[in-house]
Each structure stands twice: as structure tokens, then as C-alpha cells.
């Protein structure tokens, strides 16, 4: 066990380094294909959040915060919600709240389904950063506690 560096053992770190990019890419794939295959903003957002949580578990919290800090996560969470609401309100301008306006395209094509892909991306922002924040808050509370005891 390496006590100087934070995080887990060398095996875990190496495997994480290899897989974390793939996990992130897979999350982005799920988000972008949400309107033509199972999955979507929520599932993809969870996977994206998991890739950051993975880094945090393997390398310690500093390594994860170097990539995305709490302020940025909180900002993205609000931004995702506002984006989603804006898409819904834009639908209202052209007829009804949440109306799916714009080019519908062909079925089973990536660029189709009007506002659906955009909504999926907004939800992915919201869910990804929100889930990351939940884990960070629950973990950091515990860390603070242990530091007090010492």
C-alpha cells in the first residue's frame, strides 16, 4: 500500500486510467443516441457522473476536483435545469409548452426528433453534475468528521 499518495493501489489506478475515458465516452454515446435507442439523458448523465466518481474513488478527491470542482458542478446543475426549461418555453412560443418544434427528420437517424436530443443533453448536464454533487457532499461530510476526530 502506498501511503504517500492518496487513493487506492496501483492496480486500481492503472485500470481506472484505462477505463475511465471509455466510461465517459459511453455516457456521451448514451446521451446522444437517447432519442433513437434505450437510454437517454438520465442514464447517460449517471454514467458520465460515474466516470468522475470513479476517478475520485481511485485517485482521491483532489484528482477529481482538478477535472471538475464543486463550483463548476453546481453551475452545470443549474445550467442544465435552465437549458431544459428554456427548450420547453421555446416550445411555448411556437404553440404549446414543451412542444417538440423544429425539424423532425427521419426515424432512426441521429439528427432527428426535433428538440429531443437537446433536452437529453440538458438533462445529462443536470443529472450528471447533480449525482456527482450528491456523492461529493455525502463523502466530504464523512471526511470532515474524521478530520475532527483526529
Amino acid at each position: 500500500m502506498n501511503t504517500q499518495e492518496p487513493g487506492m493501489t496501483l492496480i486500481v489506478k492503472t485500470i481506472t486510467r484505462l477505463t475511465v475515458g471509455l466510461i465517459l465516452l459511453f455516457g456521451i454515446y448514451i446521451v446522444s443516441h437517447g432519442h433513437i435507442s434505450p437510454g437517454g439523458g438520465f442514464a447517460g448523465g449517471v454514467i458520465i457522473a460515474l466516470s468522475f466518481i470513479h476517478i475520485m474513488l481511485a485517485f482521491g478527491k483532489e484528482a477529481a476536483f482538478k477535472r471538475i470542482n464543486q463550483k463548476a458542478a453546481s453551475f452545470f446543475e443549474s445550467l442544465g435545469a435552465i437549458m431544459f426549461l428554456t427548450i420547453a418555453i421555446l416550445g411555448m412560443v411556437s404553440g404549446y409548452f414543451f412542444l417538440n418544434f423544429g425539424m423532425k427528420g427521419e426515424p432512426f437517424e441521429l439528427f432527428s426528433a426535433g428538440t429531443m436530443p437537446l433536452s437529453n443533453i440538458a438533462i445529462a448536464f443536470k443529472v450528471g453534475s447533480g449525482l456527482f454533487m450528491i456523492v461529493v457532499i455525502l463523502v466530504l461530510l464523512k471526511i470532515d468528521k474524521k478530520e475532527e476526530e483526529k
Binding site: S74, F75, E77, S78, L79, A81, I82, L85, A88, I89, G91, M92, G95, Y96, F97, F98, L99, N100
Partner: protein, 499 residues
């Protein structure tokens, strides 16, 4: 274009909540201003919606352009606009009250964010015409209220919040289970469609099972007596504006409104269920007030009175007669006005004195004139002293009991009213009248915005009886009562309004 009013009730609080969390930390005073403006705008359009309903009858909004049995719909009828006025007007006054009151807490923007989310949830519950959508909005309001109860992160707040969250989650599970049973029976989630389908298929034990589950779930949310244990803990432990919000409107829009909407409009008013509601109402009326008399903590006493007054409302609505429903709805409005005023008073006292224990107060009238006078008006109103609004609604409920031949219930209502008077005489005697204690010489009256909202709510208390004038009642209370009485006509109206 007037149709676009309906989604605004959800859009505005949601948007301002997220803008608050985005910018509130960076710009000082921003969250105060934006939440006051948002709630003011909501209050104005909710009052406007009352006149809209009077002119055009029921309004149905197709979200996303999908017509009801398929898509989610938003439905506004008399009862909805009545509840919207109750929720949003009270929310506006509580919002300007918290400008001063919440100074002592850090992270005020978080408070406003959760507060606006709670309003979005409540408006959504009230305006939704879809069963599952109602559940989702109910959970939004409930989750933000769990967080708001624990907002002070004191010992009591956290403990109460845990208890409240556990009870609330169990209640939500019961409600979801009820929705599942109804879905399996009718294969639809739209309330109007569901109501038609139930009427077509006739009575079944699945509907009865679902009604029992709804009664338990919404009974837990509105703190009827066998399910009341969480309320006296949760409501006093929250910051005062949130206590006012929880007692004033949350238990009504989440509990009572949903009960009325589901039992009258969707399931059709069954006499069996109505008599259970009446018995539960009388039970909570008596138990709440008896438990309240022994309390020395000001906010806890008020919380027990909430249980008792909710009992009055449920009794009035459970009678099922036009007069009883009118009384119940009018008492709902009045209770949300005077109970939020009383909680705001208790907040002002706590702000100045620093305690909620009645034994440590005394003679506050000399130092805090506005608080003392408004609290006197609210106390007389809740106890049912003639010129104030509480008297009129209680009188209508008692008269409706007598008219329907339930003399025992009418007697219980009178006894409950007398006991309420006794316990509020105790509050006035120990807190505001009598000798000023020497330790309290330094206290000051509450700041401007707190006084402002208390005074306006007190004026509504005094003038509330005017809502019963025939001309006014035709616009405001009448359509709400008719919407409840319409029962399963609701479904036909919804589909008629679509064309």
C-alpha cells in the same frame, strides 16, 4: 393566448429557483429581489385567473400539444384557481417577510431556491390534470419541504426533518401504490379519462383498495389524527417563514386539495368514504385542540392547532352538502391566512426575544405593538370571534352540520372552538399582556418587511368575511364549490373544454 397562463404557474417558480441558485451567491440582494418579484407576479396572475375562470369556465392546456388521454394536461377550474390564489398570495407575503427574517441564516439563496421549488411543486399539484404528474409535483414539494425543515441544521430541526421525511416517504409510497392500482384498473393516467373509465366499469374492490390507500397517503400528508405524529415536530422546528408555509398552504395543497380532487372528481363522492372523512375530521378537531392546550412552546401550540383546524376543513368537505363544502373551502382559505399570520408573529417574537417558551415571555405588548395587535386579530380569528373571518367559516360549517342532521358533529365543532379560544387566551395572557419582564427591556419591534406582511395578513383576516357577500362569492368561492360538487361531471367538462 390566455391559455398560456396555466404553465406559467410552474415555469415562473422553477425558473426563478434555478436562476437564484446560479446567480444568488454572486450578486448580493439578488435572491431577495427575484423571489419577491416572482411570487408577486404569481399572486397577480393567480388573482387574474379567478376572473378568467368566471368568464370562460374550465380551461384545459395540452402540454406539448398532445391531447389529454395521451398527453399530460393542465386543468384549471374553480377549485384550482381558488387554491392557486391561496397558495400564491400567502407565498408572496411569506417571501417578503423572509427578506428580514432570514438575515441570521447564511446561504439565503439556497433558502429561496428551495422555497420557490416548493411553490412550483404546490402549484403543479394544484394545476395538474394527470395522476402521475400530480405525484411527481407532490414529491418536488415534499422533498424541498424536508430540506427546509432541516435548514437551520440545529438538533431539533434535523431530528424533526428525519421523522418528517420518513413519514412523508411512506405516505408517498401509499399514494403511488394507489395510482398503480387505479392504472391497472383503468389503463389510463389522465384524471378525466380515469373518472370516465371508473364510471363505465362500475364499482370494484380495486377502486375501494385504491381509495383506502389514498386516504392513508393524503391523510398522512395533511396530518389527520391517526397520522398526525410528524406535524407537531416538523412545523415548529423549521424557520418561521417555513412553518407558516408548511402549516398555511403545504398541508392543504398536498393533502386536502388532492383528497378533494381524487375523491370528488375522479372516484366520485362515495358516501362511505365521505363518512370516514367526517369521522377523521371530528377526531382530529378534538384531539388536536386537546393536545394544544397543554403546550408551553408557542410554535408547537400553533402546530397542534393546525391539526385541529384541518379537522374542521375535512369535516366541512366530508359533509358533501353545498353549504358544508363552501364552509370547508372558506375555512381552508381563512386558516391559511390566520395560521401563517400566527406563525409569522411567533417568528417575530422569536426574532426579538430569542425564545419560544411562553413562560419566559410577558408584556410584549408594550414593546412590540404591531406584532401584539396582529397576533390578537389572528387569535380572535382562529377562535371564531364574530367580525373576523374565522367566525364566518366556522359558523357555516356548524350550520351545515345541523342542516345535514349531524348534531353530534356540530356539538363537537362548538366545543373545539371554545377550547381553541381558551388556548389562545393563554397565549395572549402569557405572551403579550401582563407585566413586562425585566429581562425583556431591551427588545425591539420587528423590522419593516416583517411588519408589512403581518399587517397586510391581519387586514385580510379582518376583511375576510366580505368574501361571503353574494356578489364576491359568485366570483371566488362559488365556482370553487361548484367545481367540487360537479363530481364526475369534471371528466365531461374537461373533454368539452378541449373542443
Amino acid at each position: 393566448m390566455t391559455n398560456h397562463l396555466l404553465p406559467l404557474f410552474v415555469i415562473i417558480p422553477l425558473a426563478s429557483a434555478f436562476v437564484n441558485s446560479l446567480l444568488g451567491k454572486r450578486i448580493k440582494g439578488f435572491s431577495d429581489i427575484i423571489s419577491s418579484i416572482a411570487t408577486l407576479f404569481l399572486a397577480v396572475i393567480s388573482v387574474y385567473s379567478v376572473f378568467l375562470i368566471k368568464d370562460s369556465g374550465m380551461i384545459v392546456y395540452k402540454v406539448g400539444g398532445w391531447a389529454p388521454p395521451i398527453g399530460i394536461s393542465m386543468v384549471m377550474d374553480g377549485l384550482t384557481s381558488f387554491m392557486l390564489v391561496t397558495v400564491n398570495v400567502i407565498a408572496f407575503f411569506i417571501s417578503i417577510y423572509s427578506i428580514n427574517y432570514m438575515e441570521k441564516y447564511t446561504e439565503k439563496w439556497n433558502f429561496y431556491c428551495l422555497f420557490l421549488l416548493m411553490i412550483a411543486g404546490m402549484n403543479g399539484v394544484v394545476i395538474s390534470g394527470d395522476m402521475f404528474n400530480l405525484y411527481v409535483f407532490l414529491e418536488i414539494a415534499a422533498i424541498s419541504s424536508y430540506a427546509l425543515v432541516a435548514f437551520g441544521t440545529e438538533h431539533e430541526g434535523l431530528e424533526a426533518s428525519f421523522k418528517y421525511a420518513v413519514m412523508g416517504t411512506v405516505a408517498s409510497s401509499f399514494i403511488l401504490l394507489g395510482i398503480v392500482f387505479l392504472y391497472s384498473f383503468t389503463s389510463t393516467l389522465n384524471m378525466a379519462d380515469m373518472s370516465m373509465e371508473i364510471a363505465r366499469k362500475g364499482a370494484s374492490c380495486i377502486v375501494l383498495l385504491a381509495s383506502v390507500l389514498f386516504l392513508m397517503g393524503f391523510g398522512l400528508k395533511s396530518a389527520l389524527v391517526p397520522f398526525h405524529a410528524w406535524l407537531p415536530d416538523a412545523h415548529p422546528s423549521a424557520p418561521a417563514p417555513i412553518s407558516a408555509m408548511l402549516s398555511g398552504v403545504l398541508i392543504k395543497s398536498l393533502g386536502i386539495y388532492a383528497l378533494i380532487r381524487i375523491f370528488f372528481s375522479v372516484l366520485g363522492a362515495e358516501p362511505k368514504i365521505l363518512s370516514i372523512m367526517m369521522v377523521l375530521g371530528v377526531l382530529s378537531m378534538m384531539v388536536g385542540v386537546i393536545l394544544a392546550i397543554g403546550q408551553w412552546d408557542l410554535k408547537r401550540l400553533l402546530a397542534y392547532h393546525s391539526i385541529s383546524q384541518v379537522g374542521y376543513i375535512i369535516l366541512g368537505i366530508g359533509l358533501g352538502t353545498p353549504l358544508g363544502i363552501l364552509g370547508g373551502l372558506f375555512h381552508l382559505l381563512n386558516h391559511s391566512v390566520f395560521k401563517s399570520l400566527l406563525f409569522l408573529n411567533s417568528g417575530a417574537v422569536e426574532y426579538a426575544v430569542g425564545t419560544r417558551d411562553l413562560e419566559k415571555m410577558g408584556g410584549l405588548r408594550e414593546k412590540m405593538g404591531v406584532t401584539a395587535n396582529t397576533s390578537l386579530i389572528a387569535s380572535m380569528s382562529i377562535a371564531g370571534i364574530p367580525p373576523f373571518n374565522g367566525f364566518w367559516s366556522k359558523m357555516i360549517i356548524i350550520a351545515a352540520c345541523v342542516e345535514a342532521g349531524h348534531f353530534a358533529f356540530a356539538f363537537c365543532a362548538v366545543i373545539g372552538s371554545i377550547l381553541t379560544l381558551a388556548s389562545f387566551m393563554k397565549v395572549q395572557r402569557y405572551a403579550f399582556f401582563g407585566e413586562l419582564k425585566s429581562t425583556l427591556n431591551q427588545i425591539k419591534e420587528a423590522p419593516f418587511f416583517m411588519k408589512l406582511s403581518m399587517i397586510v395578513l391581519a387586514v385580510i383576516c379582518v376583511a375576510g368575511g366580505l368574501l361571503l357577500l353574494p356578489d364576491v362569492s359568485k366570483v371566488f368561492l362559488g365556482p370553487a364549490r361548484d367545481a367540487v360538487l360537479a363530481g364526475s361531471e369534471y371528466a365531461k367538462d374537461v373533454f368539452a373544454a378541449l373542443r
